[in-house]
């Protein structure tokens, strides 16, 4: 956005900015149309002003007013809050569980981890290492065990230990695998025997393109996602797919992953996200 008059090049630059951030063709065209209208109405002249308007429109789409807090308070009946972490393969679920445990521990909460990924090689070991790193116990079952029963065990042990929060890590699964999605639905239902699951966090990798929207749709249908964690934002990808995700599903991004270390998890800040997107 460096031109000094609003020629077609300027509009093309706006469009390119959005497309290369993975915002998607549909949302990009809508945004540009809305901007063009506003520019006509307001009589805006400079690319600078257009950039501000773009930021404004994007921010509205990302809905800064949404509640992004995590429900992690123990229930009056003594039941721990339950956070279920889901997503496709390799997005950063296990790492996010570890980092989130760290955040909760720093808030003086007692946390128990549940290793309901009984499928991937050394997944339970990986989660246990995270638990040791941040000083919380990990409940696990034998390799190949039923993930729902491991999740249930974690909740039971969390209740016995009077934990505030039980964080349940699940195996990565592609949303088009019906059997695996059914299995995930079962994990949630089994946890719900004790009461509602407080948070279902869908972990989306910021490098993901348009498939991210399909992921969000399908996971929402199966386990009613309450929040998105946008990981790997420390890389060059912008994570623009979450604009469409929020627009279509109204599920807020709650947290962002900014690295592989235990402290690399931060609250989602709409303004900062939008600034990075139009940069």
């Amino acid at each position: 956005l460096s031109r000094d008059s609003l020629d077609e090049d300027t509009w093309e630059e706006v469009e390119d900015t959005l497309l290369t951030a993975d915002v998607g063709v549909g949302p990009t065209q809508e945004l540009v149309e809305r901007l063009r209208t506003r520019v006509r109405v307001l009589g805006t002249r400079s690319p600078e002003q257009v950039r501000d308007l773009l930021r404004e429109e994007l921010l509205a789409l990302v809905a800064p007013e949404l509640d992004r807090t995590l429900a992690t308070t123990r229930h009056p009946d003594g039941r721990p809050a339950v956070v279920l972490v889901v997503g496709v393969n390799g997005t950063g679920k296990t790492t996010t569980v570890g980092k989130l445990a760290r955040v909760l521990v720093s808030e003086e909460k007692d946390v128990v981890l549940g290793a309901a990924d009984t499928f991937r090689a050394a997944a339970a070991e990986q989660l246990t290492t995270w638990g040791e790193r941040v000083g919380v116990p990990t409940v696990r079952g034998p390799e190949g065990a039923d993930p729902a029963s491991v999740a249930y065990d974690a909740l039971e042990q969390g209740t016995q230990l009077e934990a505030d929060v039980v964080l349940v890590d699940t195996a990565g699964r592609l949303q088009n695998k019906v059997g695996l999605m059914d299995e995930l639905g079962k994990v949630k239902r089994v946890l719900e025997r004790k009461g509602p699951v407080d948070e279902v966090l869908l972990v989306l990798d910021a490098t993901t393109g348009q498939n991210g929207l399909i992921q969000a749709r399908v996971f929402s249908e199966v386990v009613a996602v309450t929040g998105i964690v946008l990981t790997k934002l420390d890389g060059t990808a912008k994570g623009g797919i979450v604009v469409a995700v929020q627009r279509e599903l109204g599920v807020p991004v709650k947290l962002v992953g900014l690295g592989e270390g235990p402290d690399d998890l931060a609250p989602f800040e709409p303004a900062a996200f939008v600034d990075a997107l139009v940069e």
Partner: protein, 299 residues
């Protein structure tokens, strides 16, 4: 989920049939539809631009034949251009004249490198080789254990002298692996490395140091088929930082269109050699450019 290119073009060409040549307006409308289809398939914007320019050129010159309707004709052109970029014939793995052949895996975090190491090992073993897997990701929690489990499942030896989880030097491990492989007569060495970002200069240097320690015959860049517009930036960063000779596309069992295949192949000039399509060690195949072209176009 998305409209296929076929449907898009059919709508554009409603009522148009059997003209001698496509008009400029027809070509304009056509290329707009192709552009949208490619972007929705996550093909990177600069690659889309070049691609469109090439298709436009060919469409201008094309005589609309009697046998094919204009839609079929355009699709044929698009398909041929796609397959051209994706590499035509699949290239085979290059084996060293004097063993061991060394294959180094590199890519972003979570792309599927460690799983691929197991797949390659099983596949190589099936062809009568004695592969050795090398645990040179000493960073990501329990990456070493993961490779050990995967190696066990594949029934191959895993060289893992360091526990990982932050302990040990991956360059030293890689170097030691070469001596071990020669000593134990392994004829192929597959080196698993930690995931790293394109902009992480320090880790990219580490990857280059591992490369220099093992002098690989192949460096395979492992990329997730779900990747979006960042594909070109990151592939270029790996090409500059460590270099690679081939590409492996993973998670093709999903429903992503996989435009990254086109982006990476076009920008780096490196062929996609293998397709990874599942979590099981057998879910691995040679890459088929024609299938990929159809997939990108949603056909």
């Amino acid at each position: 989920m998305f409209t296929t290119l076929q449907d898009r073009l059919a709508a554009t060409f409603k009522g148009l049939r059997g003209k001698g040549r496509l008009s400029e307006a027809d070509i304009e409308a056509t290329t707009r539809e192709i552009r949208t289809a490619l972007l929705e398939a996550d093909v990177a914007l600069p690659v889309v631009r070049e691609f469109i320019a090439a298709v436009r050129e060919r469409a201008r010159g094309a005589e609309v034949s009697q046998a094919l309707n204009p839609v079929q004709q355009i699709i044929k052109i698009v398909n041929e251009e796609l397959i051209g970029i994706l590499g035509g014939e699949t290239r085979r793995l290059r084996f060293a004249k004097t063993p061991p052949t060394v294959i180094l895996l590199a890519g972003l975090q979570g792309a599927g490198k460690t799983t691929l190491a197991g797949k390659l090992a099983l596949w190589l073993k099936g062809q009568g080789h004695q592969p050795l897997l090398v645990a040179a990701d000493l960073q990501r929690p329990n990456a070493v254990n993961q490779l050990q489990v995967v190696g066990e499942r594949a029934g191959v030896v895993v060289f893992a002298p360091e526990p990982g989880n932050g302990v040990g030097d991956p360059v030293a491990v890689a170097r030691a692996a070469m001596a071990y492989a020669r000593d134990k007569q392994h004829d192929v060495v597959v080196v698993d490395t930690a995931g790293r970002l394109g902009i992480d200069a320090e880790l990219m240097q580490q990857a280059a140091d591992i490369r220099d320690a093992v002098s690989p015959d192949e460096i395979l860049y492992v990329v997730d088929a779900m990747v979006g517009q960042d594909a070109v930036t990151t592939a270029q960063a790996f090409l500059d930082g460590v270099g690679f000779s081939g590409v492996v596309l993973t998670k093709l069992d999903g429903d992503a269109r996989g435009g990254a295949a086109l982006s990476v192949a076009k920008v780096t000039g490196r062929q996609v050699m293998f397709a990874s399509n599942g979590e099981g060690l057998g879910d691995f195949d040679a890459f088929h450019p024609d299938r990929m072209a159809s997939r990108i176009l949603g056909m």
